[in-house]
Structure formats: C-alpha cells, structure tokens
C-alpha cells in the first residue's frame, strides 16, 4: 500500500506508455488489440479514482509529490505532483481516453499503431498536468504533439496533410518562445523546479538589471513568450485557425481528445505557469488577454454559426467555449486575491472540465453520423430525427450541455466566470454576452440542420439507410451525459476540490 501511495502518480502517468510498448508485441488480431488498449486505458482511470479517494482536499499545496534525479548537469529533476486543479484535469484525461478508445472500435485500418499512439498520447497529456518541473513540463508538452500529428495525418479525412502540418508547425512555432523563456529561467536560477521558481522569480527586484534590461521588461517579454505558446494551444483569437482544420480532419476519437483534453493544456499552462510566475504582468496585461478572450467568444460563436460542415461547427464552438476559460483567467489575474478572482478561476477550471465532457461528446456524435453517411455537410442532413430518435435525443441533450443550459454542467461554470469577471472586467463581460447569445444560434442551427425537418427520404431506405446509434456508442455517451447532468445539479462533487486549490493559490 505504501508503494502505491508514493508512486501513484508515476503509475498513472506511465501505465499507458508501458501498455503501448507491450502492445507492440501483441499478435496481429485487431479485436485483441482493441480490447487490450481499452483495458489498459482503464488502469490509469482506476488509479485516478484511488488517487481521488486518498486526496486530501483540505491540504494546501501539492500532494503525492515524487522527485527523481533526471538531468543533473542542469539541475532539472523529474518532479511531479497534484493539486485540486491538476487533479480535475487528470480525472478528465483518464476518463476521456478509455471513452475515446471505445469510440475507436470502428477503426479498422492499422489498429495496432493507432491504439499505441493513443496510449502514448495519454502519457504525454498527463505529464503536462502532473509536471512540477519546467523542463519536464516542456518535454511532455511537445511529446503530446507527436502522436496527435500522426493520428490526424494517418487516420484523418481528405484534407489531413494540410491540417496535421498546420497543427504541428503552429503549436511548435508557438512554443519556441516558451522554450527560450524556460531556458532563461533555468539559467538564471540554476533550477527548473517550479516551486523554487515561484519563489525566486517573484522575489526579483523589478528595478534590477537582468540581461541588459530591467527585470520588469524581461518579465514582460517572458510573459508574452509563455502567453503566446499557451494562446495558440487554447486557442485564443486570432491564433485559432488551426483548430477548425485539425478538429475537422482528425479521426473521431482524435477530435474527442483534441477538444476534450489537448486544448486544456494551454489553459492549464496559463493557470499553472503564467499567473503564478507573472502575477504583476498578469494584472497589467489582463485587459489585453480579456480582449482576445472576448474576441474568441464572439468570433468563435459567429464563426460556428457560419459553417456548413457539422464538424467545423462543433470545432468553432470550442473557440467560443475556451474563450470563457481565458476570460476567467484574465479576471483572476486582474483581481488576484479577491473573491471575484476565486470565483472566476474556479469557474475557469470547471469550464475546462465541462468543455472536456461536452466537446468530446459532440465530436463523438458528429463521428457517429459521419461514419454512417460519410458526409458532414449540414445541407445533406435534416429530417433525421424520425430515423434515429435515440441518437437525436442524445444529440439534443449534449447540445444543450454545450449551450450552457441551466441544470447541466456548462451553465455552472459559465455563470461563475461571468460572475467573477463582472466586477473586474465589466465591459468585456458584457460584450461576451453577445457570444453567449450566438452560442444558442449555432447550437440550434446544428439541431435544425441535422434532426429537424420532414423525414429525410434519402437516408431512410436502401443502401443509404441510416442505422440507429448502437450499444457501444451509447456506452461511450452514457458516462459523459451522466457527468454533465450530475455536475449541473450538484457541482460540488468536483468544484470543492478545485475551489480549495484555487483559493489557496490565487
């Protein structure tokens, strides 16, 4: 038991990677490979439940810390740990990965590498959430890109080369500045340990000269180096155009993880690194950040409404929803230390979790219908409700969660963000309401264009006959829907943990 306690995070982190390696030696039997990957991805999930059980929500700071010598020469150690914020993200990741793998059971092409990439991807994402060392953070940050690149590039749809390249180059380009800034911090303080850096970096005298510039100038530059890397990933307007392409071209499960978890890495970077490392700059530049966030909210909603491709419509909705996360972060940076900041930040973290559920669900549902019809063109749908009533019901439910209907999860987090941002960022919050209004417009457009209308004869008979969502697909949706409903009714189950961590940190 003791071993489990001291190595729990390593186990969660590396179980998928080890499973992927074992998978390499599995015989060439697609069915076996699928079930193996699914079973393997359940291990981190079960361990996360164990973690949750042993997690002390009242303790401040990180728990289950592990620290190993890693790169002694530059004093970077393998340091991982978890607090309320990262816990919620770990839970999201370990929950979504098995569902994504279950959703991928219909993949028949090159099953083994596909599943292996998914498992590697999980380790990459978990590493970012758990890292307490800047270099480790950066390593995992980049590792996550590779499997996703290949997933889009090999299993994607028609325009996959363009999309995968854009995704890869854009994210890497964005993180160049991050790498430089990380190096600078490492050189300055002789350590990459996050907890030490929180202390040292903030204790610098702003008037001092550093690298030939004043500390505040250096910090401003480094702030934007960090911020842009994460802004591309979130993505914030105007860095968002890789997202509709990547999401649309990725295979269904890829989109689920991309929207469900990968976007959260960017927002998590803001919360874990930018705000604690740059509290002063976060205050100064809060207005700029809020402006970009609101632009994402508003243009994301309009962009979504303007699409004719079902998947692109859902993809743009991510820009819209993640904009709220960044708005909450900006407000928390501006009003640090106040109740407004705590509410906005808790809302932002909860919104990350909620968007993970609803976006993954929406992409999966798009995939369900794409798999059957081989089209995503909204104009070819319409009137599918009488043909697939169960699917229709699930789609409406998930759409409503995405829309932020009170009673479901999205509302709670959006309400908290709006409440927290109102006082510090009144005008921006008011403008974001326009985005919230159009959230309704694009969601309803999606439902209207897919489900409503007189029964669609084209998909009703013969070889085109649309079949109802099957049991496996329903099983993918059930956990998501249950959590959407439960979080909407009783958000305390996760918000309490988040709130404790946020109150202690900001």
């Amino acid at each position: 038991m003791d071993y489990l306690n001291t190595h729990l995070l390593s186990l969660i982190l590396f179980a998928p990677a080890v499973a992927a390696l074992i998978m390499f030696f599995l015989p060439d039997d697609a069915k076996l490979q699928r079930w193996f990957a699914f079973a393997a991805s359940l291990i981190p999930f079960v361990l996360t439940i164990v973690l949750w059980n042993r997690f002390d929500p009242n303790a401040t700071g990180f728990q289950f810390e592990e620290k190993y010598t890693w790169y002694e020469a530059i004093n970077s150690s393998f340091h991982i740990g978890v607090d309320g914020i990262s816990f919620s993200m770990v839970l999201l990741t370990t929950l979504l990965t098995p569902l994504a793998i279950l959703a991928s059971f219909s993949v028949t092409d090159k099953v083994k590498p596909y599943m292996m990439l998914f498992l590697f991807l999980e380790t990459g994402m978990l590493g970012v959430f758990l890292a307490l060392d800047l270099l480790i953070f950066f390593v995992f940050w980049e590792i996550g890109l590779v499997p996703m690149y290949f997933l889009i590039n090999q299993w994607g749809s028609a325009n996959r080369n363009y999309a995968s390249l854009k995704f890869m180059i854009y994210t890497m380009g964005g993180s160049l500045g991050l790498l430089l800034a990380v190096q600078m911090l490492g050189v300055l303080f002789g350590t990459f340990d996050l907890l030490a850096l929180y202390q040292n970096w903030n204790s610098l005298n702003p008037g001092d000269i550093l690298l030939g510039m004043s500390v505040s100038t250096v910090k401003s530059i480094a702030f934007w180096a960090f911020a842009i890397a994460f802004a591309v990933k979130v993505p914030i307007w105007p860095f968002h155009t890789w997202l509709p392409d990547a999401h649309t071209e990725a295979p269904t499960a890829g989109s689920m993880i991309l929207a469900g978890v990968l976007l959260k890495l960017g927002a998590y970077g803001f919360i874990r690194l930018v705000l604690p490392l740059y509290p002063v700059e976060a205050k100064i530049f809060a207005g700029a950040l809020a402006f970009l966030a609101v632009a994402a909210i508003v243009f994301g909603a309009f962009g979504s409404f303007g699409q004719t491709d079902f998947k692109r419509l859902v993809a743009y909705s991510s820009v819209n929803h993640m904009g709220f996360v960044v708005l909450g972060i900006a407000a928390a940076g501006l009003a640090a230390g106040t109740a407004d900041a705590h509410i906005a930040m808790s809302g932002a973290v909860l919104q990350m979790f909620n968007h993970g559920l609803s976006a993954a669900g929406m992409f999966f549902l798009v995939g369900v219908i794409y798999e059957r019809t081989h089209t995503r063109n909204l104009d070819e749908f319409g009137g599918l409700f009488p043909l697939v009533p169960v699917y229709g019901g699930i789609l409406i439910f998930t759409s409503m969660a995405s829309l932020g209907l009170p009673g479901l999860n999205g509302f709670v987090s959006e309400f908290m963000i709006v409440r927290g941002s109102y006082q510090p960022l009144t005008i921006y919050t008011a403008i974001s309401m326009l985005g919230l209004l159009f959230t309704g417009a694009y969601i309803l457009k999606g439902i209207k264009k897919v489900l409503h209308g007189p029964m669609n004869e084209h998909w009703a008979h013969g070889e085109h006959k649309l079949t109802e969502i099957n049991l496996r697909e329903i099983l993918v949706m059930v956990p998501l829907m249950a959590l959407m409903l439960f979080t909407g009714l009783w958000p305390r189950w996760i918000l309490e943990i988040i709130n404790k961590a946020v109150t202690a940190l900001f």
């Binding site: 854009k166 854009y170 105007p238 968002h240 155009t241 509709p244 243009f299 309009f302 962009g303 979504s304 409404f305 303007g306 699409q307 109740a339 407004d340 705590h342 509410i343 808790s346 009137g383 409700f385 009488p386 009533p389 019901g393 409406i396 409503m400 209907l405 009170p406 009673g407 509302f411 709670v412 309400f415 908290m416 709006v418 409440r419 109102y422 006082q423 919050t429 008011a430 309401m433 326009l434 919230l436 209004l437 159009f438 309704g440 417009a441 309803l444 457009k445 209207k448 489900l451 409503h452 209308g453 007189p454 029964m455 009783w490 958000p491 305390r492 918000l495 309490e496 709130n499 109150t503």
Partner: protein, 706 residues
C-alpha cells in the same frame, strides 16, 4: 412531513416523469400519460397542502416557509439555494398547480388517445387521421409519449421557478422552460414553420436571458448573495439605491432592475421582443395554454413582481417598465383585431394582457399586477384550451369532408359552433368575458379594474388612458372572436360537421371556468362588499411589501371607465361581426395590422440578415480563411523564400562555388599548370635543382649578410 421538505418535493414528480417516460415507458402511450398525469397530480397535491398550510400562517410574509442548502463553493463561502413559500409564491403555486394539472389531463384527449394510429402519420408531423371501416377518424399523435415527457420537464421548470428562494434557481427554472418551449413549439419539427418558430422563440427569449444573466452577475457581485431574503433586506436595498453606476444615470438598483427586466421583456413577450409569441402558436394547443398562459410568460411577470423591491428603487427604471408595458398592451391589441387564426388572436391578446401587468408594476401597482397575473392565467389557459377544443372539433369536420385545404384554425371557416360544441361554447364565453372584463361576475373585471383604479389614483393619466383604450380593444376583439366562431350559421361544410370533444378535454375547461369567474371574488374591493368580507387578496399579497399599500378609496372614474370599455367593446364586437361572412367584409383587415406592423420584416433586415452575413461571410470567409489564414499561409512561402535565398545566394555561390568548388579548382589549376614540368627527364630535374639551389643560396646569402 414538514412543510419545507414538502416544498422541496413539489417540483420533482414531473421531472421524474420526464426521465421515466424517456428511458422506460416511451413505447406505451397509456403508461406514459399515466406517469405524467400522476406526476402532475402529485405536484398539485403537494402544492395544495402547502397552500393551505401557508394560509394558516399569520404574517406569512415575515415568517415564510424557507429552507436552503450550500450548493456552490465560492472561495471561503457557499452560494446557497433553497425553497421559499411566501404569499407571492404561495398564490403563484396555487394557480400554476391547477393550470398544469388541467393541461396535462386535457392533453390526453387533445392528442387523440384511444384512437387508432394514422394511415400516413410520421413522427414530426401532426396526425392526419386514420380510416376505420371506410370512415375517416382522428388518429393518435405519433409522438404521444414524447409530448408528455416534454410537458413534464416544462412543469418541473415552472414549479422550480416558483418555489425558489433565490435568483439563481429561479433562472434555472426559467431557462429549462425556455428549452421546453423550444422543444414543444418545434414539436412537429417536420413543419418548416414550426421549426423556425421554435428557433425564433428560443433566440428571442435568449436575448433577454443574457441581459438577465448579466444582471444576476451584477447583483451577486454587489450584494454577495442571490437569496431573496438577503437581497431584499433593508440595508442591501439601501446600498443598492445609493450606488451610482454611470450608465444612463441609473443607480445600481436601477441598472440591475433594468437588466432583469430585459429578461422579462423576452420571456413575457413585451415589445420589442414580442415577435416570438405569435409564431409559437405552431406548437400543439396544450402547449400554447401552458407556455402562453399559465407558466412561461407568467414567469416573466412573476420575476418582475419578485424583484419589485429592487426595481422600484429607481424611478427611471420604473418609467421604462411602465412605458414598455403600456405600449405593449395597446400595440398588441391593435394587431389582435386583424387576426383570423383563432389561436393568434389569443396570442396577441396574451401579449397585450401581460403588458397590462407590466404597466401596473411600472406604476407601482404591485397587488393589482399580481391579481391580474393570477386571474389571467386561469382565463387565458381556459381560452387556449377552448380554442384547442374548437380546432379539434373543426378537424373532425375536416376529416368528415376530407377537404384538407380547409384551415381548421381560421375563424372565417367556423360559425355557429355554439350548438355543435355547447360545453366548449359556454366555457369559452366565460373565458372571453373574463378577458374582456365583463362587469361584476368575472375575475378579469376585478383585476383589470384594480389596475385602472391604481393608475388613476396615483396620477398616471397616460398609462390610464392607454390601458383603457387597450381594454376596449380587448373586449372588442374577444367578442369578434366569439361571434365569428360560435354565433351565426356555419360558414363551411366542415363547421357543420364539427363535433364536441371528449370529456378529458371538456372537464378541464369546466374546472378552469370556475376559477375564471370565482377567483375574482377573493380580491373584491371594499366598496362592493361593503366591508362584509375583507379584500383577502390585497391583504395576503400586499403584506409582501415593506410598506403596506393602503387599499384604494372608491373612485367613480376608473369604475365607469372599466364598465364602459368592457361593455362597449363587447357590444361593438358583436354588432360589427354579427353578419360578417368572409374576410373581405371585415373592414379591419388593414395590411399594417394584419402584418403586425411589419416588425418581423424589419428585424429580418436589420438583425437577422446582417448576422448571417457577418457569420458566413465576414467571420468565416474574410477574417478566418482570408486574413488570418492568409497571413499564416505567407509563412510557408516566406520560409521557403528564405531557404531558397540562402541556397541561391549563399550556399551555392559562397559555400559551394567559393569554398567547396573553389578549393578543388585551385588544386586542379596547380596540378594542371605544374604538369609540364613533370617530364620524367633526369637532366631537366637536375638542372632545376641547380637553379633552385642557386636562387635559394643567393637569397639566403643576401638576407643573412644584409
């Protein structure tokens, strides 16, 4: 069971019914409606017990039933949610529970339970009828179970809103109703018109909702709480009234009030967000009764009544409220006179009557507004259900003749239904008279009279006259409707074969008509009862206000006005339309009224088309694909350009030519030019050695000697 626990339980049965039907009983019609009606009955029962217990409490306003729990952790504290029954929510709960139960029962008949399945019916379209032994008979609704699931969820939303002790759960109920109204208006989603109406309803009300959300966020930021008890306490109200906001010179209270009121403008279909409500008639008629009478639109007015302590703090906001209400009352009434669809007349009349309530609140007539809210819910639910019954009867006629071109909702296709559908006729007449404010016996008279009396007594002359004219129009179009529908001779073959509807539909009509008359008696003023019976309603609901409003003294002007406009309107309506046979003979079919003052057309040009263009062209094409991606795509060629530049102007000439090839060339040149001296003759080599020796020796000599 404690009353508090019971209050928590009241909203639950309908939502459980929703889940039960969706997950389990959706294949069985009988099971589904049993579950739904049973749930409505349980909620009704709970509501009645709570209501009776509430009546037994002295000073209920000061000592309401209340209970709350920690819901949302916010930093070091919690946002609490809970339930509250005070006089206002008690009276609202009373009418909501009754209307909901009646509408649930009515729906069983309305959707043709017990009839065979249709010959060509599809999910998504209204039933078209079936053939049994060669006779056309009505067929059962294809999505029968789904309907009951939706109205169950709807009832849950309304009951949640009513029992809430805070703004947040009130908003939750409010939005759930918004969803259900969308689902129910678009119930027959196969019809293009229903589909569009559903989206229109959702989006239009959502405009109000986002303002309301902003108002809630503001309120919460300023006061740190959302529970009514805290935000309506003296010190909080005082603080809200004294904080300026810098927006239109409003105080915090004024701005919060205004933002919340915009929510009501959407939900209660006030001008300029009224456009969704008439289109919402696309839904099945029980839905119209539910959304447009008993619940959702009432919720908007209820919210204003609930937030009245804050809204009334700022004169400017109150003026806006009064203006919007009064304008809507007369504006919608003018449109109602030119409509031929039996349900659309009622829709506009609803907008207009809600305007009465809003205007009443704007002039501070709190009790009068509440009274009219309750009476209106009863008689408007009655009228909608009655019109549904009429349509049902007409559909019977249509099935009989087989002429599906005849619109069973067009009043000019009716006439003489008085004898065919007596129960519907008498109950509709009662409802119509209540709406018109027929003196003394109907509830509508007392509530409307109280609004007018209040307006007059407090010197709001403009509001008074506007509402008086609107009241006249109300009586007029109501009588027009009754005359065209029930009086005279049948104008079509279909009307001749119209048929009274089954007991499941007529029983709710009878029950509601009892309230449409009787509920007025609980709020009769002193002058009529001579003080024998106290004005119970005024006493009960008026206790909600911190400073008790005194009952008004008797004044002849508003009373006379009420009498004249009601009776005059009814008479004018009857005599104008007694002999009208077709729309051509109707002098009030003025295009501008018929086309609803062209508001829809205006919105289409000013808002909808630009928004679509902005989304599809500006954002998606120009900004994202053109500008942003354009810049990104420059990176490709730019990087390529830099790369090939380096290759062509540095790598190739400098590295390759100069260093790489250059060093080879030099070596080669030396080799080539030194080749001639490699002759292989020993004499030449020795000679060359000798020459070099001399030269080197000579050089050394001179250099060293010098």
């Amino acid at each position: 069971m404690t009353t508090e626990l019971l209050i928590w339980l009241i909203p639950l049965p309908p939502v459980l019914a929703f889940f039960l039907i969706v997950l389990f009983t959706n294949k069985s019609r009988a099971a589904s409606h049993t579950v739904a009606v049973g749930a409505a009955f349980l909620s009704w029962l709970g509501a009645m017990i709570v209501f009776v217990r509430a009546l037994g409490v002295e000073h209920l306003a000061e000592h309401p039933f209340a209970s709350a729990i920690d819901w949302l952790p916010t930093g070091d504290t919690f946002l609490q949610i809970g339930v509250l029954i005070d006089p206002l929510s008690a009276i609202t709960l009373f009418f909501v529970a009754w209307c909901v139960l009646m509408i649930f029962i009515y729906s069983v008949g309305y959707h043709n339970f017990g009839q065979p399945e249709g010959d060509h019916d599809h999910a998504g379209l209204p039933p078209h009828g079936a053939t049994v032994h060669g006779h056309a008979v009505p067929s059962v609704e294809p999505m029968y179970s789904r309907f009951f699931a939706f109205i169950g969820l709807f009832a849950f939303g309304m009951l949640t809103l009513v029992v809430s002790d805070n703004v947040l759960t009130m908003f939750v109920g409010w939005e759930i109703m918004g969803l259900c109204s969308y689902l129910l208006i678009g119930f027959w989603y196969g019809k293009e018109s229903a589909r569009n109406a559903a989206i229109k309803a959702f989006m239009t009300t959502r405009i109000g909702d986002v303002f309301m959300l902003l108002g809630i966020a503001f309120l919460y930021s300023v006061t740190g709480s959302l529970s009514f008890e805290k935000i309506f306490s003296e010190e909080v109200l005082h603080a809200l009234a004294s904080v300026p906001t810098g927006v239109f010179g409003l105080s915090a209270a004024g701005l919060i009030g205004l933002l919340l009121f915009i929510g009501t403008i959407g939900k209660s279909a006030q001008f300029p967000l009224h456009v969704w409500l008439p289109d919402a008639m696309e839904g099945p008629t029980p839905v119209s009764a539910m959304i447009h009478a008993a619940t959702m639109v009432s919720a908007g007015v209820y919210a204003v009544i609930r937030m009245f302590p804050i809204i009334s703090l700022d004169e400017k906001t109150m003026t806006i409220v009064a203006f919007i209400g009064a304008f809507t009352a007369i504006f919608a009434a003018t449109i109602a006179v030119a409509q031929n669809d039996i349900k659309r007349v009622l829709a506009y009349s609803t907008i207009s009557q809600l305007g009465f309530m809003i205007a009443a609140l704007g002039i501070g007539a709190y009790v009068a507004a509440t009274f009219h809210l309750v009476t209106h819910a009863f008689f408007k639910a009655l009228l909608f259900l009655g019109s549904g019954s009429v349509i049902h009867g007409m559909e019977h006629g249509v099935l009989h003749t087989g002429n599906h071109k005849v619109d069973p909702q067009d009043m000019f296709n009716m006439g003489g239904l008085k004898d065919k559908m007596p129960k519907t006729f008498w109950t509709f007449l009662i409802g119509g008279f209540a709406l018109s404010g027929f003196p003394l016996v109907t509830a509508g008279f007392w509530s409307k009279d109280e609004i007018l009396a209040d307006a007059w007594a407090h010197g709001h002359t403009i509001v008074f006259f506007t509402l008086a004219i609107a009241a006249f129009l109300t009586a007029f179009y109501t009588m027009r409707q009754i005359t065209l529908t029930f009086f005279g001779e049948p104008r079509t073959e279909e009307a001749k074969h119209a048929h009274e509807t089954p007991w499941t539909m007529t029983t709710p009509l009878i029950v509601l008509s009892v309230f449409a008359v009787g509920f007025g008696w609980v709020g009769m003023p002193h002058w009529i009862t001579g003080g024998l019976v106290e004005n119970w309603f005024h006493h009960f609901v008026g206790s909600m206000l911190h400073e008790h409003s005194e009952e008004l003294a008797f004044n002849l002007v508003p009373l006379a006005t009420s009498l004249i406009v009601a009776l005059g309107g009814l008479a004018a309506g009857y005599f104008t339309y007694r002999n009208v046979q077709s729309p051509a003979e109707d002098k009030l079919q003025i295009p501008v009224l018929k086309n609803k003052w062209y508001v829809d057309e205006l919105y289409n040009v000013v808002f909808i088309k630009p928004a679509v263009w902005f989304s599809e062209v500006f954002v998606s094409q120009w900004m994202d694909k053109g500008l942003i991606d354009g810049i990104l795509h420059l990176f490709g060629p730019a990087t390529g350009g830099v790369g090939s530049g380096i290759r062509n102007y540095f790598d190739l000439p400098v590295i390759n030519r100069f260093f790489g090839d250059g060093s080879a060339d030099v070596t080669w040149w030396f080799g080539k030019n030194l080749r001639p001296i490699q002759t292989g003759r020993i004499q030449q080599y020795l000679l060359l050695t000798l020459i070099v020796l001399f030269v080197v020796g000579g050089l050394l000599y001179f250099l060293l000697m010098a």
